[in-house]
């Protein structure tokens, strides 16, 4: 009983991170129809930049802020210097470019920040909090809390602000949106900035629990993508549901069956989604558009 509760808690925290990564996939998928293969690298980059800044004796908050800004800059520059050069930014062209950008991002981190694993301290220490019979790492609260905040803020942005609504308009009818004066490129840049910022934040909040290094991005990206597919590609609440579901399943499989199973869960979840329900739990047929 206690073991299951512990597993559920650890599933909730890794699931929250997957949800944030999935959110990045969904935002970019919605506005461009492309799969952003650099998403995982951006998450890793966020963790690495924060850890390096912290190791250079920066205050923790500043290190995190710096990491988020740096990754947003990298994403905006990639969009500006590479994606904008594509004459016809079709979903496929953007997807292929993102693979190239992913490889470059990873190499960039390796060359500039090195190959050693890096770490951040827990945001409020690492003394476990006792709750009933459970020993909970305090970082869990930060992870779940920040994820909830980011989800709410994103929802508010898309539903309530003019820019957020404009991005939904571009996703629904790109030509009609251009006729309304919404620059399609602006929407694209905005979605890249948003996805990168959320990704980098995800990277910084998980690092105290898992460490990070230049080669962590690919796996995180893959799990975030599985979570996005599971919840429904392009759906914002789907990212949350898919992420938490994947994190929980993974933790249970790893703890109750065998830890070898842990990483296979995302793969199995992705395959099952593709076979049984390609639109995901909350998706509405968006996948056929690709």
């Amino acid at each position: 009983m206690e073991q299951v509760a512990n597993l559920l808690l650890s599933g909730l925290s890794s699931g929250s991170v997957y949800a944030l990564v999935a959110l990045g996939f969904n935002v970019i998928f919605k506005s461009t129809g492309a799969i952003n293969f650099a998403q995982g690298e951006w998450v890793m980059m966020g963790g690495m930049v924060a850890a390096t800044s912290y190791a250079a004796h920066w205050p923790l908050g500043l290190a995190i802020l710096c990491a988020v800004l740096a990754v947003v800059m990298v994403a905006l520059l990639s969009e500006r210097l590479i994606l904008r050069r594509i004459k016809k930014p079709t979903a496929l062209a953007v997807t292929l470019m993102m693979i190239a950008i992913a490889i470059c991002s990873k190499s960039l981190v390796m060359l500039l920040l090195g190959k050693n694993p890096a770490n951040l301290p827990g945001f409020s220490g690492s003394e476990p909090v006792l709750w009933f019979n459970l020993r909970i790492h305090p970082q869990t609260f930060w992870i779940v809390g920040i994820t909830c905040l980011v989800m709410l803020a994103t929802h508010w942005f898309f539903e309530r602000t003019v820019l957020g609504r404009a991005m939904r308009a571009v996703a629904a009818q790109p030509e009609a949106a251009a006729l309304c004066g919404i620059e399609p490129r602006m929407a694209m840049a905005l979605s890249f900035g948003l996805a990168a910022g959320v990704g980098a934040l995800a990277g910084t909040i998980i690092t105290p629990l898992t460490l990070t290094s230049f080669d962590h991005g690919t796996v995180l990206g893959f799990k975030g993508f599985s979570a996005a597919m599971l919840g429904g590609l392009g759906s914002l609440p789907g990212a949350l549901i898919g992420g938490v579901a994947l994190g929980t399943l993974e933790a249970l499989a790893g703890g109750l069956i065998s830890s070898h199973f842990k990483d296979a869960v995302a793969f199995v979840a992705l395959l099952l989604t593709l076979f049984l329900r390609p639109t995901g739990i909350l998706g509405r047929g968006a996948v056929e558009k690709v």
Binding site: A169, A172, E175, A176, A178
Partner: protein, 240 residues
């Protein structure tokens, strides 16, 4: 007000417009009639900036606009109601209308916000049906309501020239008449209107001036009344 001169435009390698020229006077109600594939939508897209002309020029109020992208043409005072309406289905009617005024709402300004408020009131007075539907999802509207929404959205940018690409498509005859009556009313209050239509009888009955387009060229240009009596037009487009 609008001047198209020897316009050539198309998709990739194939040209659709082969030296098309036409002009629309300030305050006029003009129609562009033609059969399927004649190039009506291509002409509209070229004016609105969705398609860059290969050759020729488009002038609006004395300035060339043929190099501008669509998002900038709106700010010059031209709005296009695209073929097939293209409303933002997952968004509410209110959000759709708000998006029509995007260039006034972003970057943010109090003056812009106030303009949009008055404009919204004007659009809702023009289409009272939309007022009842403000919180409803656009995708759930009927075809006629979606056309009203598409026109309302275009009006939200406060254009001086309103372009409509086949507004009658897929609508019941009675609704078509309503739409044209509204266009007439808008034109009387000072808006310049250019409508492309396959439905020549309705278009010629409402417009002042007409152009007939055939395989990317204007073959006839005259007052709507005279076009209506023209033998060739009667035979080819009115089926009389």
């Amino acid at each position: 007000m609008l001047e198209l001169a020897s316009l050539q435009a198309g998709y990739g390698a194939s040209n659709v417009l082969h030296g098309l020229s036409l002009s629309v006077n300030q305050g006029a109600f003009c129609t562009l009639i033609g059969a399927n594939g004649a190039g009506k939508s291509t002409t509209m897209k070229a004016i609105a900036g969705l398609l860059r002309p290969v050759q020729g020029s488009i002038e609006f109020e004395g300035q060339r606009i043929d190099h501008l992208p669509a998002a900038q043409i709106v700010t010059r005072g031209i709005a296009l109601v695209p073929e097939g309406r293209r409303v933002f289905g997952p968004m509410t009617v209110r959000e759709n209308l708000q998006m029509g005024a995007f260039t006034k709402l972003y970057p943010r300004s109090t003056a812009g916000n106030r303009q949009v408020e008055t404009r919204l009131e004007f659009v809702l007075e023009t289409f009272p049906r939309l007022r009842e539907r403000l919180p409803q999802q656009a995708a759930t509207l009927s075809g006629g309501e979606q056309q009203m929404l598409a026109i309302g959205r275009a009006l939200m940018s406060a254009p001086r020239l309103l372009l409509l690409d086949e507004p009658s498509m897929g609508l019941a005859p009675l609704i078509v008449l309503q739409v044209f009556a509204v266009l007439r009313q808008l034109q009387r209050s000072g808006l310049t209107v250019l409508v492309s239509e396959q439905n020549a009888s309705v278009a010629l009955a409402h417009a002042d001036h007409g152009y007939v387009i055939e395989s990317g060229r204007i073959v006839l240009a005259d007052s709507a009344a005279r076009l209506h009596d023209n033998d060739k037009v009667r035979e080819a487009y009115l089926g009389i």
